[in-house]
């Protein structure tokens, strides 16, 4: 039954997506929450594509790799939105461990198979205290994927960036660049 709802947004995506915009190597605002400064060009997808509420960039297409930029996820917000699917909701008192669980649960709901996160550790998100972790999963077709996440809960709002790609080839290809983007985060309010 879920499938009809998958089919419709997909068709809407193709029909409504008039253009994919160029992301130039200069400071890029993510909402009003933070900015990042990529060192190379990326392609910015329309917000509505692929059900995520994040801003999404890709190098070679979202089937192969990309980065998600979530900002200001507040109480009861979800990471993805899709008609007919109940996605897990963010709670403002979540600690790093719980945000990682929230991320895994949301991914499972969105169709990621056998998603496993590991290596949770403290890390700076801009000048804020945050955390990061790595994860693996497979697509519905069984293609193995890998990713990493850097996030922080600041004033009860979740700011989070993920980088993900096919385990074979594409992950390694852009991981360093994603890492550099992590290092350029500047919180807007601070």
């Amino acid at each position: 039954m879920k499938r009809l709802f998958i089919l419709i947004p997909l068709l809407m995506f193709v029909a409504s997506c008039t253009h994919i915009k160029m992301i130039d190597p200069k400071p890029q605002e993510i909402g009003k929450a933070y900015q990042v400064n990529p060192t190379k060009q990326w392609n910015g997808l329309n917000k509505s594509s692929f059900q995520t509420v994040a801003e999404q960039w890709t190098k070679d297409g979202p089937l192969l790799n990309g980065m998600n930029f979530w900002h200001d996820i507040s109480k009861d917000d979800a990471l993805y939105e899709e008609r007919g699917v109940e996605y897990p909701k963010f709670r403002e008192d979540m600690r790093a461990t719980e945000v990682m669980e929230f991320f895994v649960s949301s991914g499972t709901k969105s169709g990621a198979v056998n998603i496993e996160a590991s290596n949770l550790r403290p890390a700076k998100f801009g000048n804020a205290e945050g955390f990061r972790f790595e994860y693996t999963y497979a697509t519905g077709d069984g293609l193995k994927m890998r990713g990493m996440v850097l996030a922080a809960v600041i004033d009860q709002k979740l700011q989070m960036i993920s980088y993900w790609a096919t385990d074979a080839h594409y992950y390694e290809k852009n991981a360093k660049e994603a890492e550099k983007i992590f290092e350029t985060i500047e919180l807007t309010s601070s």
Binding site: V14, D60, L63, G111, V113, D141, L143, A168, H169
Partner: protein, 251 residues
């Protein structure tokens, strides 16, 4: 999800919005344009491939499916026609690629479900995602990636290595072919559509060929075929489609 037996086993457990098959169906809808056979190829911008005098090409198992269009225009796979199309394919490939003095090396899938077969399956799945990305971002208007405006640099990178180790070949060729034909009901419906000036939609032929360099893993050449005529079920039709698809290959 709450009662057993609710879904066709084909779909299995959790489904992904990123299913390649579904994307392809969408793509075909998006690409629906009138006209006869047309192809548009892409050549790597990562340095022209160096082709020897008699290249050896590993031929992956072609993904072929022939369907009948129901009155409402839905595609229903037809096993007999698919068998016919497959039976003509080898001959057509020999003729077209043989004319280019290509040595074709057949792919032999690892059977069973051991680690080796699972690893090799990953190569096929990666190419599916790469091929679908090329189709989406090079052929669908509105989905072009700005960073790739003058570039064609999709690759499988080192992921190709297990095939390189196993086969003595310069390239790997992936083929995907779909053909469909109207049922009697669809033909009747089309007559009405034409009378109403709405334009008919009968069967159509779509396919792609992807040539991957065994050394670099780069997709050195990619061709997309779309045709509203042609018939893969017949020997002549098969030869024509393969010629349209592979004639320009830099082999």
């Amino acid at each position: 999800m709450t009662t057993f037996g609710i879904r066709a086993a084909g779909s299995g457990g959790a489904s992904s919005v990123f299913s390649i098959g579904r994307l392809f169906a969408v793509l075909m809808a998006a690409l629906f344009i009138s006209g006869c056979a047309q192809t548009r190829s892409q050549l790597t911008t990562e340095g022209a491939p160096v082709v020897g005098s008699a290249p050896k090409v590993l031929m992956m198992k072609a993904d072929v499916e022939i369907s009948v269009l129901t009155a409402a225009g839905l595609e229903e796979p037809n096993a007999e026609w698919t068998e016919q199309a497959k039976s003509h394919l080898d001959g057509s490939l020999s003729e077209v690629l043989g004319g280019k003095s290509v040595t074709m090396i057949p792919y032999e899938p690892v059977g069973g479900v051991g680690p080796e077969s699972l690893n090799e399956a990953q190569i096929l799945k990666l190419h599916e995602a790469v091929g679908a990305s090329v189709l989406l971002h090079k052929y669908v208007p509105g989905l072009a990636l700005p960073t790739k405006q003058n570039r064609f640099d999709w690759t499988m990178g080192e992921a190709i290595a297990p095939l390189r180790a196993k086969y003595d070949a310069d390239y790997v060729m992936f083929l995907f072919l779909r053909d469909s034909f109207s049922s009697a009901g669809r033909v009747a419906a089309n007559v009405v559509f034409v009378l109403l000036g709405a334009g008919a939609h009968g069967g159509q032929q779509v396919g792609y060929a992807s040539l991957v360099d065994m050394k670099t893993g780069n997709v050195v050449w990619f061709n997309f075929l779309h045709s509203t005529t042609g018939d893969l079920r017949k020997e002549e039709g098969s030869r024509l489609a393969i010629r349209n698809l592979l004639d320009e290959a830099p082999l």
